[in-house]
């Protein structure tokens, strides 16, 4: 694509873009707390290895 650096540019929009580039907002980060993750993993493991809920026997011998 042929680029044109002399294309007319909206001055006010450019001034706003300059201000935006000078002070961009900080990107949102996703944080995972190791202790929270460990706790969740332990809970899941305990649920998996727990014995089944005892139920009353219904069959008659």
């Amino acid at each position: 694509m042929v680029t044109d650096r002399t294309a007319p540019v909206e001055t006010a929009a450019l001034a706003a873009e300059v201000e935006g580039l000078l002070e961009p907002a900080e990107a949102d980060g996703v944080f995972r707390d190791t202790r929270e993750c460990g706790g969740a993993l332990l809970l899941a493991a305990l649920l998996l290895i727990s014995p089944p809920t005892p139920r009353p026997k219904t069959d008659v011998r």
Binding site: R5, T6, L21, A27
Partner: protein, 233 residues
Amino acid sequence: MAEQTQGAVPLSAVIADAATGVALALRGEGDPYALSGILRQSDALTSAAVRVLGADALAPYAVEHRAAPVGADDEAVVRQALAAYPPGADASQVSVWSYRGLIEASHAFLPAGAQPWPAPPEAEAAWVAGDPWPKLSHRVSQVAALALPGLAPGLAEQLAARTDDLARGFVRAVRRRDWLQAAGLGRWLARLPDAPSTLGLDSGLAFIRQMGGADPRVALHVVAAQRFYGRGW
């Protein structure tokens, strides 16, 4: 008209081109640096790009023992940028500091010519002492262009009192993979006298260059830290 604007280069691309040129010059590669050589004076976006880069647009002139003299047209390019984008009444502190940095760099590295350079505007610095460390780190990374030899000595002095907070911010930015912020903070830490040795600033800067060096502004900060303060590999 539509055909013209369709092919227009975005400002970010012009800034990236200019940052690449500055980084090359700081590495001592390529042709002798001239700001007017990497940004055309007739280009509508040149002033905006110089305003965003701030003092970094003149960083190669801060290198001692330059082989070539300052480009004759550079003064006009900088004056154009200063006239076109002065910080308004409601401008952010970062904008004012960046503008001030460009004026200070012009005073320091460019000949005055027929007209004297304007006086640097007063920039407020209460945020340096008052901001919590994550916010401080974010702001300081945005004024990384001021981390040039001799520029903003007052700001550097105030930031020295918060070196540990900036080191925390550096680690935080690396962990967030915010390479631009990390590189800017690393550059400031390279300038400050008491960056903690346990921080691993040199290897940190090398890591940032490896991971985020594809962004020309990240590369520029890392190269500046190495060229002016000998930090990083």
